[in-house]
């Protein structure tokens, strides 16, 4: 173990300290965990799914690989997949994408010149030492132009911002881009570590962390719904919620998680939210972008 440590120091001295090393290690460990968990769920029931029904696990797909996790719960649950396929033939949010295209070309293109950037966000801004998520970038652009900001206009949870995000993700998915997050500086690394700490910290009335549901709890049921794994989770946002018949951003889903945990939701434009999205995005690095996911 000591020799590995010395080797690590030596390589860092040779090539310069790489801030991605720790994050990459975390990401690979997560992939290994998820792949072993979903290798054979029925046989691993006592190890990974102690309170699940055997009949549920019989419907699970075996041997899921890293890139298949981008489908969320549809990656492993065959019944949900059937339901999804029976619901609608086309994208349920095709009108949102059309509206997003119009809004992007009219207002956002001057700030984000190319729409194939879904996989590059969140970015670290070296000047301000802050993480900028895609929603942040869109909202900042809207504020610059004094556009209508509020529940019916541009906001962090849904509406016009979500429409533009849907358009950007659809173009990025067509271009076959992958999630490509980088940690360029020490400040960015601190933001990543902070996001990681918040993700794994137990909080709220229920005393559970984000990881309790989306890492250890992935594939189990909560409120009669399967929980999706962290790996490949941010790839399919914004998502269409069939109950509300509208699309919602990642910030909205995280705030809903906080609500269910029994904790006051965090500010969508705050440091906490940006850091946690940075960590979540890095965990899905090198996986493809996907659209048409419904909840």
């Amino acid at each position: 173990m000591r020799y590995f440590f010395y080797l690590f120091i030596f390589t860092n001295l040779l090539y310069g300290f790489d801030f991605n090393t720790q994050a990459n290690y975390d990401r690979l460990a997560l992939i290994k965990y998820m792949e072993t968990k979903f290798k054979d769920p029925l046989n691993n029931i006592y190890q990974f799914f102690p309170y699940s029904n055997q009949s549920q696990l019989k419907n699970f797909t075996k041997n899921i690989t890293k890139d298949q996790f981008i489908h969320g719960i549809y990656a492993f649950d065959k019944e949900s997949q059937k339901e999804k396929n029976n619901q609608l033939v086309s994208f349920p949010f095709a009108p949102n994408i059309q509206n997003g295209q119009y809004l992007y070309k009219r207002y956002i293109q001057q700030c984000i010149p190319y729409p194939t950037v879904f996989g590059d966000y969140p970015k670290f801004n070296k000047k301000t030492n802050q993480i900028i998520t895609l929603s942040n970038a869109i909202m900042q652009c809207a504020k610059k132009q004094h556009l209508d900001i509020g529940d019916n206009g541009w906001n962090y949870y849904s509406g016009k911002t979500a429409d533009v995000e849907a358009y950007i993700s659809s173009i990025s998915a067509k271009a076959k881009n992958k999630i490509d997050i980088k940690i360029p500086t020490k400040e960015a690394f601190n933001a990543y570590q902070n996001g990681k700490k918040e993700y794994y910290s137990k909080r709220g009335l229920l005393n559970i962390s984000c990881a309790s549901c989306h890492i250890q709890g992935a594939g189990k049921k909560f409120n009669n719904q399967f929980l999706s794994p962290l790996l490949g989770q941010i790839n399919h946002f914004p998502v269409y919620k069939t109950s509300k018949q509208d699309i919602f951003t990642l910030e909205y889903s995280i705030s809903q998680c906080s609500y269910k945990q029994g904790e006051t939701p965090h500010k969508p434009d705050g440091k906490w939210m940006a850091n946690i999205i940075y960590f979540m995005s890095y965990s899905s690095n090198t996986t493809p972008i996907l659209q048409d996911t419904r909840r």
């Binding site: 290690y25 975390d26 690979l28 460990a29 997560l30 290994k32 965990y33 072993t36 968990k37 190890q47 990974f48 990681k196 700490k197 794994y200 910290s201 137990k202 909080r203 709220g204 009335l205 005393n207 962390s209 990881a211 309790s212 890492i215 250890q216 609500y259 029994g262 904790e263 006051t264 965090h266 705050g270 906490w272």
Partner: protein, 142 residues
């Protein structure tokens, strides 16, 4: 010169014995050691419960770990209790996202507010080290 050295040594020793903790806020460290059953006991008066809830909830808000009950944040629950005390009513109402109404007596609500504010801080301090336990590749073994 020797006097100056003696003075510096004295100040150094003094700072070591006092714990060098003048900059740290006192309440959070205290919150982690508090016994909720004693501090938020229902035998205490509403005002006593409310003052402890208010002091600790402010710190919980600073750390962004404030609790909420049925969609209402703890600070709003405290506000409602204060308003009810002024208006001399015996109950408070909490309305959920789905427009369901829940009523609580003032005693119950103030006890809940007290527990929430301290428990939030206790969780926050516990998680400073224990969050490693759930990380694959760190302390989480499967």
């Amino acid at each position: 010169m020797t006097k100056l050295i003696k003075l510096i040594l004295f100040l150094l020793l003094l700072s070591i014995f006092t714990g060098c903790s003048t900059n740290k806020p006192k309440e959070p460290t205290k919150a982690s050691k508090l016994d909720i059953n004693k501090v938020c006991n229902q035998k205490l008066s509403i005002n006593q419960l409310l003052t402890t809830a208010q002091t600790y909830n402010k710190i919980a808000q600073k750390h962004e770990v404030e609790f909420q009950l049925l969609g209402t944040s703890n600070s709003k629950i405290i506000e409602k209790i204060n308003y009810a005390l002024k208006a001399d009513t015996k109950q408070i109402q909490i309305i959920t996202q789905d427009d369901e109404i829940y009523t609580f007596s003032l005693k119950d609500a103030s006890q809940k507010a007290c527990i929430f504010s301290i428990r939030a801080l206790q969780q926050y301090y516990n998680c400073k080290n224990s969050y490693h336990d759930d990380i694959p590749g760190d302390k989480f073994i499967y």
